[in-house]
Amino acid sequence: MENAIEVKGMQKIFGEHTAINKVSFNVKQGEIFGFLGPSGSGKTTTVKVLTGELKQTVGDVKVLGIDSENFGSSAFKSQVGILSDNSSLYERLTIYDNLKLFCKLYGAPLKQIDVVLREVNLHDERSKIVSTLSKGMKQRVLLAKALIHNPKLVFLDEPTSALDPGNMAHIHRGLQKLNEAGTTIFLTTHNMEEATELCDRVAFLHNGELQELDSPNSLRYKYSTHAFHVETFKGNRLVIDNQPDQADQIRDLIANGEIKAMHTDNPTLGQIFLKVTGKELE
């Protein structure tokens, strides 16, 4: 499988501050890649470099086979969709007029407006003026704007941060559908459940350095103690190591019908992040 993003030894230095320090990673075409890190970890700077808004100080960056030198080209821009934390809309115009502008700028057919509005659950609100919308609705319009031209790769920065659970689930289904159709998604999020549910692989960034990169399940397995946590009907809580010599104890508990609940000790991505970086995701 070809890579949608290739980053080799990337450094971004602002004055004396190193925002990104020798970061290397690849994002495969067609995957949902989660980029996780607390505020100030270098996440946004990385996205800005990958979208051509900033130029890396050192290193090689390629997106969809295009070298970073050519990120300003129409060929690059027409294949990439961006929803960043400071994306905005024309407040005095309707949802439809906002999307119509970008449809025309990207040379996409106008019927695409209805398609994306259905995907973000806003088709019935298309004539509303943007300034009258709630924060969550604006977020969904921004997502529709990022997808209006059917990009091969989308950068989504906290796409569901302002959404209620119903709309979040709707957007998640939409993103999965989009991904199934072949779109690569580069997702930055603080929502660990979202990352676990959506991402094929996640990368942890801390102080501008990559700390971990793997699938959520592999990371959870890697950082698991592999012990079984057992709760009995008598109210006892036991921790049993996943070792051959502990098999009898588990067998006896099952045979005596004592087990009320049993689960493996798989940490959440948030717990793993805390373990790796010593810092919680804010």
Binding site: E53, L54, K55, S74, N86, S87, R92, L93, K104, L105
Partner: protein, 230 residues
Amino acid sequence: MSVQRIHAIFEKDLKDLPRNIALLMLPVSNILLALIYSLTVDGEPPIAFLYLIAGATFSMVTSGIMMSMIAEENEKNTMRGLIQSPASLLDIIIGKSLVTGIITAISLMVSLMIVGIEPLMNFRAIIGLILMFLFFLLVGIGIGLFSKSLAATSGYLMPVMFLFGFTPMIATFQLAEDSIIIRTTNTFPIMQAIELYDNNFWMPLGILTAWIIGAALFTFICFRKVMTDD
């Protein structure tokens, strides 16, 4: 550069303008100003008076609308969305310039019709007005590009209006003809447009062109700054 993208920007700004009260006030104030001026003049207005109306239109409407539109895109972060799209900064500026051009033309026609447009309906006057429009448009683009907020543009618009828009008003200060202020302001675009209308052709045309080149250089520097900001 793409005609389709320029048209998209033009269409968006044209739809947005009637809903933008602050911007609409600029051509409306200009027309009101022309009405007030017309009440103070009896008979055919002097040429300097007509150019004062034109200067007010170009500074308030052309420069004012242009810098406000670009600064608002900067302030509200919508410029980033446009630049991230395949539209180039040139597409964006041309689209906005077309809207500004239409509003300027309407505002100028209405204002001049109020005070008496006939003396300016000739080749020399029209050439002068077109060159003045280009100068004020470029100044508006340049200031808009480096302005981070809409509020800042009002601060920049004032000197543009008083220095370049209302230059003929300097006559009301009764300064000596050979004073440094008069000699300097006589080279300003609006005074050269009057000179172009009244007397010479090539000399004021050259000076006006030099002003346009200066404004274009200023705009180009602002343009480069926007494109290379890290």
